[in-house]
């Protein structure tokens, strides 16, 4: 019984849900459409709970740092304090941003911090381009030329200096880039479908976790 609950039931549920909703696409009967509506509502709720999983696991990481007093554990306190303050202010504001403390925290801290965090990469891209972007082989030369054409042809100064640069970059995007990307999309999709079928038929079980 335990084995059934621990292993067979999850595999059976995956199979049933997988087959039912793959077939449902081809049979848009009111009953099957009703089932799709209802289960998609269910999934939104379950996935909402699943988001807590990610947050809880981050809390665990920082709690462990504070508990073991590893180097820089004070920063983990910053994580906890800022999280608790944001939650308290958010609940006080009833989840509304306009003219509330939550909106203030969002606009002046989260926007600034997250925006800058990713903008730093811009500087590193420039540095990497200087150090590593070399035409070592024929393939690398093609990559380099395509990149330069794109950077040149998709900005106003490039188009102003060489009017043909814009249309050339457009052609590159609409023909050569499109062809390669389409090949990748078809390849990835075939792989994705194969994985989905393996999951539905219980061949791929890693999502269950553990060894059982």
């Amino acid at each position: 019984m335990t084995l059934f609950l621990r292993r067979t039931l999850p595999l059976l549920l995956t199979f049933l849900f997988g087959v039912a909703f793959a077939v449902q696409y081809y049979i848009p009967h009111p009953v099957s459409e009703g089932a799709l509506t209802e289960i998609s509502i269910w999934l939104r709720i379950i996935l909402g709970f699943a988001m807590i999983l990610g947050i809880a696991s981050l809390c665990q990481v920082h709690y462990a740092k504070i508990r073991t007093r590893v180097a820089g554990w004070g920063y983990s306190l910053v994580v906890y304090f800022s999280m608790l303050i944001t939650v308290a202010v958010g609940l006080w504001a009833r989840g509304q941003e306009t003219g509330t403390g939550l909106g203030w925290i969002y606009t002046y801290t989260l926007l600034a911090l997250q925006g800058t965090m990713f903008s730093i990469l811009g500087f590193f891209v420039a540095s990497a381009a200087f150090r590593a972007f070399r035409a070592r082989s024929k393939e690398a030369t093609v990559l380099l030329v395509a990149a330069i054409l794109m950077m040149f042809g998709r900005v106003p100064l490039g188009e102003y200096l060489v009017p043909a640069a814009g249309p050339l970059a457009g052609w590159l995007l609409n023909v050569l880039n499109l062809a390669a990307r389409r090949g990748i999309i078809i390849g990835i999709s075939l792989g994705g479908i194969a994985t989905s079928i393996k999951i539905i038929f219980g061949i791929e079980r890693s999502y269950l976790g553990g060894r059982e």
């Binding site: 998609s40 999934l43 939104r44 811009g122 070399r134 990307r181």
Partner: protein, 301 residues
């Protein structure tokens, strides 16, 4: 010459950082305002909105977070300006949790400029978890996917949503996306079955990857990056953040092209130069928080 090339290749990366900072700062302070050519893919989004009669339903999904604000926020401003000018019924939402506050701000801000009333002329449905699943849910029953809007009003009672039971009644959807869930999710799980017209506005990182879908008509137009936002601003005759940033964009691109060419020249002059990996700060931010990215559902930026 050989020694000089070797030295320059081993230059502290902070010198390059300063160069990029100056190339950004100077054009922002002293803009030139070079003309911006509008590409056909951006024009198609504009033309489609122009072709919609007043009162048509336009759904704008702001599927991004603060990390992509500089690229997608100007796009949202431009599209909302266009939609409100055309007197469309504007329905907005987000599939990215940390983008909710930003989406609310841009929608209510632009709406107030046009004197549009919440619930009557426009709606902000807010955030719902599940990505692609939310799109399926909306395609089946919009009120079930969003029982209440962001402000807690029952969606079934909102006049702006009168007659809209699902995505099938929506005339045009544009997803402004920084990754997954985004444009790709909207056509695979939405347009494919529910048949609405779909346009895309994306960060420059993902724009080249969407051209196959533009070619097949799965998306009818594509606005890519800050450049795309600037093109859309040109079309609607608005001087926004997109156009303001184009001179700096030109300058930084030319600096990087110059750096790449110099790099190759130096390697020709001084072959075999070894560049140390860590001669400045480490390779990227975010070493110790346990979270390198902001959004739990982020796929690509």
């Amino acid at each position: 010459m050989r020694e000089l090339a070797g030295k320059l290749l081993r230059l502290d990366r902070r010198a390059i950082f300063v160069l990029i900072a100056l190339a950004t700062l100077i054009p922002l302070l002293y803009p030139v305002g070079l003309p911006i050519r509008v590409s056909p893919e951006v024009r198609r989004v504009f033309d489609h909105i122009e072709s919609l009669p007043a009162g048509s339903v336009f759904l704008l999904s702001l599927d991004f977070d603060p990390a992509s604000k500089p690229e997608l926020y100007p796009m949202a401003v431009a599209l909302l300006n266009h939609a409100f000018r055309r007197d469309l019924r504007v329905v907005t939402m987000t599939l990215w949790v940390s983008g909710t506050g930003m989406a609310e701000k841009v929608v209510s801000g632009v709406a107030s400029e046009y004197g549009k009333r919440r619930g009557l002329d426009y709606a902000f449905l807010g955030y719902s978890p599940g990505g692609a699943n939310v799109i399926i849910n909306m395609g089946q029953d919009l009120n079930a996917a969003f029982p209440a809007d962001h402000y807690g009003e029952r969606t079934a009672d909102l006049p702006v949503l009168r007659g809209i039971r699902s995505l099938r009644q929506v005339n045009y959807v544009v997803s402004l996306a920084a990754g997954t869930p985004g444009v790709e999710s909207w056509y695979v799980y939405g347009k494919e079955k529910y048949g609405f017209e779909l346009g895309g506005g994306v960060t420059a990182v993902i724009a080249p990857g969407l051209y196959p879908f533009l070619d097949t008509g799965q998306i009818n137009g594509l606005i890519g990056g800050l450049r795309g936002a600037a093109e859309y601003e040109t079309l609607i005759g608005m001087k926004g953040k997109g156009m303001a940033g184009m001179d700096a964009q030109s300058a930084t691109h030319f600096i990087i092209i110059g750096l790449i060419l110099l790099c190759n020249l130096f390697y020709v002059v001084a072959p075999g130069t070894v560049v140390r990996s860590f001669d400045g700060p480490q390779d990227g931010p975010g070493p110790s928080t346990g979270l390198r990215t902001g959004s739990p559902q982020e796929g690509q930026r």
